[in-house]
């Protein structure tokens, strides 16, 4: 072990988890493209390490939401039946889908995330008082989207906020703070369901995943602290651009072209 590469992995996880925390998304969507393109790391190894990062971010950030009563644990466990089932299917599929198609799916998910960030989230009209108890309507649509989120999470090693957020905001009509907290709570279990399988298969390499885990914990904690003091409009637009660039890169990778990260 020489340390330089481990430090780089730590820094990548720290940065992406911090920014992920600022934007209310998991770090995986940034980690996988960066590891494969700049680190020249094999896609499956990158996905395995990213799943660890998703678990770390979810666990490290959960406590304050739970203490404030923002996390809806009963709804979470109900939706987790769908996300873990999706993860189970994703683990199974991941063994069959050729790498270039995984790159392509990843590129599309990045584009979708960029689009979602431009559109922003709106509070839909609903009973405003939380204490009366809001009800989660349209459960079948919500469960279907959650199943898809679990599937994509296991296939690409991401938290799948891109599917969970519309599921919770639009289909289930939850208040934004509740759906963010509940989604953060759920991504850990969803990622764990597939991470266990990846670990058993030997796709989670300790020298890569261990520095990533530490960076993610630190990043998630720091990100949550900064979140309170930041006007995020400019940040959002910057990230829309980054997501588009990463998407283009993943698209090129799907066709076997790598423009950056020429040196291993």
């Amino acid at each position: 072990m020489h340390g330089g590469f481990e430090l780089w992995l730590f820094a990548v996880a720290l940065g992406t988890s911090m920014l992920g925390g600022l934007l209310g998304m998991a770090s995986g969507i940034f980690i996988v493209p960066i590891l494969t393109m700049f680190g020249r790391i094999d896609l499956h190894t990158a996905i395995g390490a990213s799943l660890i990062s998703v678990i770390a971010c979810s666990c490290a950030g959960a406590a304050p939401f739970l203490k404030n009563g923002l996390t809806n644990i009963r709804l979470a466990i109900l939706l987790e039946t769908a996300t873990t089932l999706g993860a189970l299917c994703g683990v199974f599929l991941a063994g069959f889908i050729p790498t270039r198609y995984l790159f392509l799916i990843f590129a599309l998910v990045l584009l979708l995330s960029a689009q979602q960030m431009v559109a922003r989230r709106k509070e839909l009209p609903r009973a405003s008082d939380r204490d009366i108890g809001y009800s989660a309507e349209r459960m079948p649509l919500g469960m279907t989207l959650m199943y898809g989120a679990g599937l994509i999470s296991a296939l690409l090693g991401i938290g799948s906020g891109v599917l969970k957020i519309p599921a919770m905001d639009t289909a289930l009509r939850l208040p934004i703070k509740v759906s963010s907290a509940t989604s953060n709570f759920m991504i850990g279990v969803t990622a764990a369901a597939s991470a266990g399988a990846y670990f058993a298969r030997g796709d989670i390499l300790t020298p890569v995943a261990a520095p990533i885990a530490l960076g993610s914990v630190l990043g998630a904690v720091v990100g949550a602290r900064i979140l309170m003091k930041l006007h995020s409009d400019k940040l959002r637009m910057m990230f829309v651009c980054i997501l588009m660039i990463l998407s283009a890169q993943m698209m090129l990778a799907a066709f076997g072209i790598n423009l950056i990260g020429q040196t291993p």
Binding site: C59, I73, L214
Partner: protein, 98 residues
């Protein structure tokens, strides 16, 4: 189907503490392993790998804690849901191992 959310807020702080302290323990084990790996490569990496396993198990332990809580509180419907989530996770582990 309508799910009403009127949480009694008893389990939430406990789950928060479980995840908080679990994160600290798993991170400490990984950090220790990486530090050891600088000197004695293989053994240190095994310690770090154990830390990664702790991280993967942490959310699963959280589901287990919810399962026990719901059963004790007599909320059998949610107990059954937690049991279902637990079995899907374990099934995924075993299918992945093959």
């Amino acid at each position: 189907m309508k799910t009403h959310i009127t949480s009694p807020h008893r389990l939430e702080p406990a789950l928060g503490a479980l995840l908080y302290y679990g994160t600290i323990v798993a991170s400490a084990v990984i950090a220790l392993g990486l530090a050891l790996a600088v000197g004695l490569d293989a053994a240190g990496m095994r310690v770090a790998a154990f830390g990664l396993v702790l991280f993967i198990l942490l959310p699963v332990v959280r589901v287990g804690a919810m399962l026990i809580f719901f059963l004790r509180a007599g909320e059998y419907r949610f107990g059954a849901i937690a049991a279902l989530v637990m079995s899907i996770i374990l099934l995924s582990f075993f299918l992945g191992a093959r």
